[in-house]
Amino acid sequence: MAYLPYLLVAPSIILLLGLIAYPLVFALKNSFYFWNLQTSATPVGFVGFANYQMVLASPAFLNSLINTLVLTFSGTALEFAFGLAIALLLSTRLRGMSVARALLIMPTTIAPIVVGFLFRYMYDPQGGIITWLMASIGLDLPAQGILGSTNTALLAILIADVWQWTPFFAIILYAGLLSVPVSLLEAARLDGASAWVMFWRIKFPFVMRTALIILILRFMQLFNTFDLVLVLTRGGPGTSSRTLGYTLYQQGLIDFNIGMASATTWLVVIIVNAIVGLYIFFAFRKWEW
């Protein structure tokens, strides 16, 4: 029976391998070929690392990488921090909390592309409610509008993402808080521990274990995000909000340069792999499988 568990896991692995291997191999192979659908319907020839050189040499790639890293790290961190704060708030067992919690998850259930439209509407420089609110409280908004300024375009995308995914963190971290054994808390209280100490010594470690997983899930999702960028800014102004996901979209589905898009794909896979690998190495050391 030793092989039984493997037999149970196998179908999912075979299906996933079948689905994921094809595009990965396709991208790997074509990243070494000259293939631009604008000039030829079929791959033209082997070009070694020329596609990689071209991608790495283009200033847009470095810009996109930096924007992606800024967006991904700050987005994940903010969503975690706000999510934790909200989870703590929800865990005060006041009347109405469960209703609030049920409503709070709503942003997470919306399609990212719809969130993009929603925020494009609210950011509108002429009649957007966010613009109006900011102006009414006397904030100095960029004359070009929130999405039109190099200073705020990426921030605007970040805010939309934080709006959508903070509730996800909040609900899951709240579930983590619920699972803290009451006996532990009572014992700490009897020992005269302050709320502060109880949070950092007891609740936080519990919650952190849950957080490890969703942090990395979100990180990977956010790293590849493109719907929001497509609808909100198309990477502009300049390259101020261009992300790797959008660059891939442009290379693949606007320019139809399969060779370059494939090279970018593998660069992205390698970069994410490095970051996630490091994270897993450190974060999952004490994980019980």
Partner: protein, 487 residues
């Protein structure tokens, strides 16, 4: 870019591309026998994949006539441009297009034909009197529908570019704006805009103009009109030349003048125009705080409404005029032509029914019927047929048609946005660099020099410099010849 030292030889590129071109040619020649004709009364259904521009809404309203006349049912589906292009190119690459009629962007016409993705229409058009091909404006067919001397598609909507201005603003400020028969320079145009900018007219603080600043496509569509007007060209010799030479000529005094002009216009625009897509500029004008701007001719009627296909009049509906595009000194005017065309994918087995649809949808009768649809307050006047510009039923609804015809007659889409094989990549480069000029990240000089370098790299990397495939002297005259041959 080290492409040249690497494994692909030019010969290989040649072989592949010529192979597919030859294949397409052979395919088109073999068409003599034609696909099996559909039987009248035997329910044939064709699928038409359209882009969701104004013509689609008008076409949808009259499509029943086609079924009544031919017995062919139509499944008319619309998509956004991005989704349509993604779907079409991928389906062509794998030879599985599920549509019988597709919308073809003029920038991709050459690629579709060269790869045999769509059928050349010469065989269908030759001697088909119903087509009345001589009624199409040759400028439109040249810009949108021909490639290497073949008729590739038929135009269902043809756009030029022209100026729209607020009559009340011009009157109140005592500004002279030329009418259809007049002409003016870009300097006069800019001065007029400057005179409107910042003025309070009837309680509204005016911006002089509005531009499209969003990259890549919208900014390029608008900028290239100014560039063409100033006499700027993208390449040394393309497409009207017996020997194509794609050496970029971006870094030229003419292009520089156009960039400066565009930057001046942005200074007189709402600052948020930096993020404006096509429709944003028109929508902004229709809200009433823009003095004057130039844009694609569909905006001549779109600005009458307070939103896209809402059917409700905007505040400028009865208060705007149309003026000719300015010229740069004595440089002959070139107007950017665009629009949408239908083509027949090689994969369809219902080519004859598809041809019936192409013929019907682009016919004078159908186009007129589309112009008379009033579901959304008359939202279609993008005729490619000359006869419709004198049609009194239509001119009563669209009084600017005479002016618009003049704009189309000065049109040359292949100069304004040359359909080079890697056009979309070049457009991406141009859009980004122009956008950076507008936000002050670089000067016009820097932008042009960067553009020139990146163009050169891209064109070399794609084996287009030097050009070793057969060229075709693609002149407006060649299109006239083609029309005469097919008529």
């Amino acid at each position: 870019m080290k492409m040249r030292s690497s494994g692909v030889s030019r010969r290989q590129v040649l072989k592949t591309t010529i192979g597919t071109t030859a294949g397409a040619a052979a395919y088109s020649l073999g068409l003599g026998g034609r696909a099996p004709a559909y039987a009248q009364g035997n329910a044939t259904t064709i699928r038409v994949l359209s882009v969701e521009d104004p013509f689609f809404f008008a076409l949808r309203d009259v499509i029943g006539d086609f079924t009544d006349q031919t017995g062919i049912d139509v499944e008319l589906e619309s998509l956004s441009y991005d989704a349509m292009q993604a779907r079409l190119v991928t389906s062509f690459v794998s030879n599985t297009s599920d549509a019988d009629v597709v919308t073809v962007d003029q920038m991709w016409t050459g690629q579709y034909i060269d790869n045999g993705w769509i059928r050349p229409l010469d065989e269908f058009a030759a001697g088909d009197a119903d087509l009345d091909i001589t009624d199409f404006m040759p400028e439109v067919l040249y810009s949108l529908n021909t490639w290497r001397g073949h008729l590739a598609t038929l135009p269902v909507a043809a756009y030029a570019q022209g100026v729209m201005y607020r009559r009340s603003v011009a009157d109140q400020l005592g500004l002279d704006i030329p009418d259809a028969t007049g002409s003016w320079t870009w300097d006069a145009y800019t001065d007029t805009i400057a005179a409107m900018n910042g003025q309070n007219v009837n309680g509204t603080d005016m911006f002089g103009t509005v531009i499209c600043g969003s990259q890549p496509t919208p900014i390029v569509h608008m900028f290239t009109q100014a560039a063409a007007s100033y006499g700027a060209r993208w390449f040394a010799d393309f497409p009207a030349s017996p020997e194509w030479d794609f050496t970029p000529t971006i870094n030229s005094p003419e292009m520089m003048a156009a960039v400066d002009q565009y930057a001046r216009l942005y200074d007189l625009s709402p600052p948020e125009a930096i993020n404006y897509l096509w429709f944003d500029a028109g929508t902004r004008f229709s809200t009433g705080d823009i003095g004057m701007f130039y844009w694609w001719t569909p905006y001549f009627y779109l600005i009458k409404n307070n939103g896209y296909m809402t059917g409700e009049p905007s505040v400028v509906a009865d208060d705007y005029g149309i003026a000719p595009l300015p010229v740069a000194g004595s440089t002959p005017q070139v107007i950017s032509l665009g629009g949408w065309s239908f083509g027949i994918p090689s994969t369809t087995e219902k080519a004859d029914a598809a041809w019936e649809f192409l013929k019907w949808s682009t016919s004078a009768a159908t186009q007129k019927a589309m112009g008379l649809v009033d579901t959304y307050n008359y939202q279609f006047s993008d005729f490619a047929r000359r006869s419709l510009y004198d049609d009194s039923d239509l001119t009563a609804i669209y009084p600017y048609l005479g002016t618009q015809a003049g704009m189309l007659a000065q049109g040359n889409g292949k100069i304004a946005r040359p359909p080079a094989p890697v056009y979309t990549t070049l457009e991406g480069i141009m859009g980004l660099e122009l956008n950076k000029v507008l936000i002050g990240q670089q000067t016009a000089e820097e932008a042009l020099s960067t553009m020139d370098d990146l163009f050169l790299n891209t064109l070399r990397g794609n084996f287009l410099i030097p050009y070793s495939l057969p060229s075709f002297d693609d002149t407006p005259e060649a299109t006239v010849e083609l029309i005469n041959r097919l008529a």
